[in-house]
Amino acid sequence: MHEVSLMQNVFELIDDYSREYKLSKVTKVVLRIGEMSCVSHESLEFAFSAISKTTISEQAEFIIERVPGRSQCIVCSHEFESSLLTAICPLCNKPAMCVAGRELHLQSIEGTEEEN
């Protein structure tokens, strides 16, 4: 439900970086989204197309890289793939905590520079 406000934050970052690198047009935007971050990819795509209108990112390709959930055992430190916030270690049967899968990152952008 908060995908639109997340995307507004993404556009603030895009604005900052495109000013810093003097981009006249953004051609690609890549996000890294953890599978346990409670964010809908479809809603993000919708928010991107809605907010990018009339901006320099309007034509940009929008890519979401999925980060699978991983947990680490608090006792034996064994790491394994898991889509649960608190999982059980398959080796020693003790609780394991989520160590990956809650990412909400702006990974990279691509664009063309202003002509002088």
Partner: protein
């Protein structure tokens, strides 16, 4: 040209939250973020807690709602400082909204600040507001399965409060399963069974909070 960024999307929120946290720390204010579904009894719990704690502790409240100041009016009638945030549709409170609210509170005269988050079991869990502790409120009528279904809301919290326990005989709420899921998700969380309408269990929670507030004052 490709620019590698690798920055958290909520970085701006994190920065503001850090400032809020420092401000609250400087004033020795213990801050609680109360989360739960609409109708779980967040405001009712606040009213009960204010009754119990007001004589001993200087309190203030930040009320988050989509629209209206109905909750703030309820709190204001108890004569403590309250600021209402209307998110006009946003499903959670964020650092910027808290910054705005803190600017409107008498920080020098507050020991315990309670933030009532937007009624929602999903989004508020993702936004750190600079609180010292989160409290998740669940009511019996919602069903014990909500703990397992919305784990982010019940992980990393200081306390889980089960409200409306007077209705247990009239529902199929499975108390054993509730405790089993909580133990699995968040073994460190304190659990309080209360009934705001009957007033039961609120004393234990109030005593525990008083202890927490005193702890932070001693640290200061």
């Amino acid at each position: 040209m490709e620019i590698t960024i690798g920055q958290r999307i909520l970085d701006a929120n994190d920065q503001i939250t850090l400032r809020n946290k420092q401000l609250l720390r400087e004033h020795g204010i213990f801050t609680i973020n109360i989360m739960g579904s609409p109708g779980a009894g967040k405001t009712a719990l606040l009213e009960k807690l204010i009754d119990k704690l007001k004589p001993e502790i200087k309190m203030a409240v930040i009320e988050g709602d989509l629209f209206t100041d109905k909750d703030a009016q309820r709190i204001e009638s108890q004569k403590i400082p309250v600021v209402q945030i209307n998110t006009k549709g946003a499903c959670h409170l964020d650092g910027q909204m808290i910054e705005w609210a803190l600017d409107r509170l008498p920080l020098n005269n507050i020991e315990l600040l309670i933030i009532e988050n937007i009624g929602n079991l999903v989004c508020p869990a993702e936004f750190d507001l600079g609180e010292d502790m989160r409290i998740s409120l669940l009511s019996v009528t919602e069903g014990e399965d909500k703990v397992a279904k919305y784990p982010t809301m019940f992980t990393g919290v200081g306390a889980i409060v089960l409200n409306k326990v007077d209705l247990l005989p009239y529902t199929n709420f499975k108390l054993d399963d509730f405790y089993k899921d909580i133990k699995f998700l968040d073994a460190d969380a304190k659990v309080f069974e209360i009934s705001c309408s009957q007033g039961s269990g609120v004393d234990a929670l109030a005593d525990w909070l008083t202890h927490k507030v005193k702890e932070i004052k001693e640290v200061k």
